[in-house]
Subunit: 468 residues, 2 copies
């Protein structure tokens, strides 16, 4: 445990330098253990396990672009993302790990206690056992506080889900190198840092928002017309809300009923508008993302070195909730979003979730990309006094290379319209907390935002009058 955050940063810096890592880019056809399948051009591992990169054909998407093809990561197995919780002096602490992932811009970030694919923990690659796994697989000793199957980035993964677990234990837990205990309040503070708390930790922590009590910030009184008071109201059990749960479930079901998206796997070699050139698979107009290869040398990972393909987005993402006070209660504008790779195709998503660069005209002005997402301009034009948080966070560093997104909460003016397109609905924090528990309702981006909002430190929530 750390006396203060400075002590944590000291420890973390020390962990980062304790091991030697080297991540270098290499051509896809020179990845050790991986090959391009003869006919399909699919990227597959010689074990037949881990994951593969194949082609996906999408038709009748119901989006601005009706049909397209793209590379996609296929990894049907469920992994476990688990955080172990234990109370010290009555204060719950989470066991987190300083862990290297080759795709992270800064290599080492804070990951959950256990972050293991099924291949990892069944040890297909002959690596070391996964520490602390015994707390998350039956028969377990501890008390399960949260346990749900959740989707991951559905633009890049086909039907990928991980089991998100939080388990409380009273057992003695030896703290291995690279692991540390952090209180919820300390984690809240660390979430304010860019690129420190990794995506896997953020998604699991969305299940812990229910366990936190909304503390009002300094100088806030009940009934105040402040962001802080509106957030506390949004968190309340049985609080006021624009819609009840039955209405929101109906809105969600309706969106699923509207969805016509069809998808099928196709050979990677034949994916239109993408080509294999210069050792990568890239979009012909240099949009979206690139499939590239990396070689990893590390001294402390499950194995000491490996190669793998990764997806590298071409530009930074913007992931934002618009929020509005309704009757003094903060409501978030949630999208029932068509999620290309998600099992059930529709999930609850942030108001805005895209790479804005994909929606700008090309340098020659010859082509205007279709369908600039609704509300994107509202988010990008938000003035600082409207922005409740703003941090750059990394996406999964095990599959995505230097994938970063700007996560924002923007509070709108009073005169922002209440009416929305049919695939948007206003919800309270409490309603999102309810849905996240059932799994496969909130997408990974919405879960990250819920964590950032649910763990927003009181100090970061200075009273803000509604009329700035």
């Amino acid at each position: 445990m750390f006396f203060d955050i400075a002590e944590f940063h000291q420890w973390f810096e020390q962990r980062c330098t304790a091991h030697a890592y080297k991540v270098s880019r290499i051509p896809l056809d020179r990845l050790d253990g991986w090959s391009l399948e003869a006919d399909s051009g699919n990227l597959v591992h010689r074990s037949g396990r881990f994951f593969s990169v194949q082609g996906l054909e999408v038709t009748d998407s119901g989006r601005a672009v009706e049909a397209w093809q793209q590379p996609i990561i296929v990894q049907p197995e469920h992994g476990i993302l688990g955080i172990l919780v234990k109370e010290f002096d009555g204060v719950p602490h989470c066991l987190l790990q300083a862990k290297m992932e080759p795709g992270n811009v800064n290599l080492v970030q804070l990951s959950p206690t256990v972050q293991a694919t099924k291949s990892n923990y069944t040890r297909v690659h002959g690596g070391r056992p996964v520490p602390y796994l015994e707390h998350f697989v039956a028969p377990r000793g501890g008390e399960v506080l949260f346990d749900a199957l959740q989707s991951e980035q559905a633009s890049w993964f086909l039907a990928k889900r991980n089991r998100n677990m939080i388990v409380r234990t009273d057992a003695d837990v030896p703290v291995l190198d690279d692991f540390c205990w952090l209180s919820f309040d300390q984690i809240a503070e660390l979430l304010q840092n860019d690129d420190l708390v990794n995506m896997d930790t953020r998604t699991v922590l969305s299940g812990a928002v229910a366990l936190r009590r909304p503390t009002t910030g300094p100088g806030t009184r009940h009934g105040d017309d402040t962001f802080d008071a509106a957030l506390a109201g949004s968190w309340q059990q049985q609080g006021r809300s624009l819609h009840n749960t039955v209405e929101l479930l109906s809105w969600f079901t309706e969106a699923k009923g509207r969805c016509t998206l069809e998808r099928r796997l196709v050979p990677l070699a034949g994916v239109s508008n993408w080509s294999h050139r210069d050792g990568v698979v890239a979009h012909d107009e240099d949009r979206h993302f690139t499939v590239l290869g990396v070689n990893v040398e590390a001294s402390n990972r499950e194995v000491t070195g490996w190669s793998q393909p990764m997806f590298a987005p071409r530009s930074q993402g913007v992931i934002a909730f618009l929020a509005k006070r309704l009757d003094g209660v903060l409501h978030l504008l949630v999208q029932a979003r068509i999620e290309t790779g998600a099992l059930d195709r529709i999930e609850m998503a942030p108001t805005v979730q895209c790479q804005p660069a994909d929606y700008t005209a090309d340098p020659f002005g010859t082509r205007q990309p279709a369908g600039r997402p609704p509300y994107l301009d509202t988010v990008l034009a938000a003035t600082p006094d409207r922005i409740r948080f703003d941090a750059v966070q990394s996406e999964e560093g095990g599959r995505f290379y230097h994938a970063q997104s700007r996560y924002l909460l923007v509070e709108t003016d009073d005169d922002f319209p209440l009416e929305t397109p049919p695939d948007f609905a206003w919800m309270t924090v409490r309603q999102l907390i309810g849905f996240v528990g059932y799994g496969s309702h909130l997408n990974v981006e919405a879960r990250s935002l819920l964590t950032l909002l649910g763990f927003l430190p009181a100090a970061a929530r200075a009273p803000q009058p509604v009329a700035a």
Copy 2:
């Protein structure tokens, strides 16, 4: 509206005779509009719509039989099953329809207000418009009381789901021929009849159990040690329960994590252990079900005549919950069942759900079928004083031919073991009511049982001392 149930039966009998129906069996290769695809042998409609019958290969099922092939109905579109509710003199009534379905043993049963496949209501077959549909598609006037995507018989359908809706209206609703208003209490009484309230009505009504108040039966006092009091306790909001919701969701997630079932479509012609002979597709050992063809002549349906393939089970099913009083509160033994065709493969199911005839030795005793389901013998051996309800109900008469199941609730003795295999858990009625609202949690058989239990008339629940 009917003054009493006798008046309803009179009306119903009159509706049954008002139209002329003729359903005859014909060979699969002589179905009008349907053909056996040249290479695959799949049964397809010339429109390319409706549904098709294909082959399914299942591997790593995790059941007693690890791998098999079978015919399966493929119908990926979502239909709507909707019940319109309106209050008369303060009493909610449901608009139900006397409707012929070719697979019903008695042809006509009570169906929901709207029971339409997407092909129906987009009128692919050029039929008449679906009456009352406007109450269920946006923009609607009424108030949505329930709206969830729910799976259907996953042993016979691949990923089939229908939208189950209950909509309350204050509008004037003209009552067409074949339609009638029935109060919840009248429906409760009709559910006691065999083969009268069809499967579609039963599954939608599972969403109405939340709207009903547990009335205690005659002579029951609070705190009584009776079935009736235990049922009322099981229904209570915030009542006592063996497990909390987080624990049950974790149990459900765990079962999904254990599931290894893989499936893929294969040509119907090549399905092993099944063959096309004498105009049907049948199992070589005459087990499970048969795919057969019917020709329908009717005077009042969307079209006046048609042919179609249907699945005909070889024997009657048994669908039962075992129940046990824990601390005076009724708990049902729910199974996290591997559902062959369900989207997410695992759903919450009754304690027992099978065709017992599939688990008896063949007449020559040469083959003992694998895996007699747990608890089947407990259900079949239950003495009358342990049976809380027992009715034969029909499965969907639009796809299944003479498919009937015996639906039972059996209350166990006090000394029945509390311990269960890992894929079973004890739940209260209130907990099932919670899960049914989220869709894709309870399978169709469990939803039918929830309706039968939730609508059990007070008169049918005479006080039963726990020690018989």
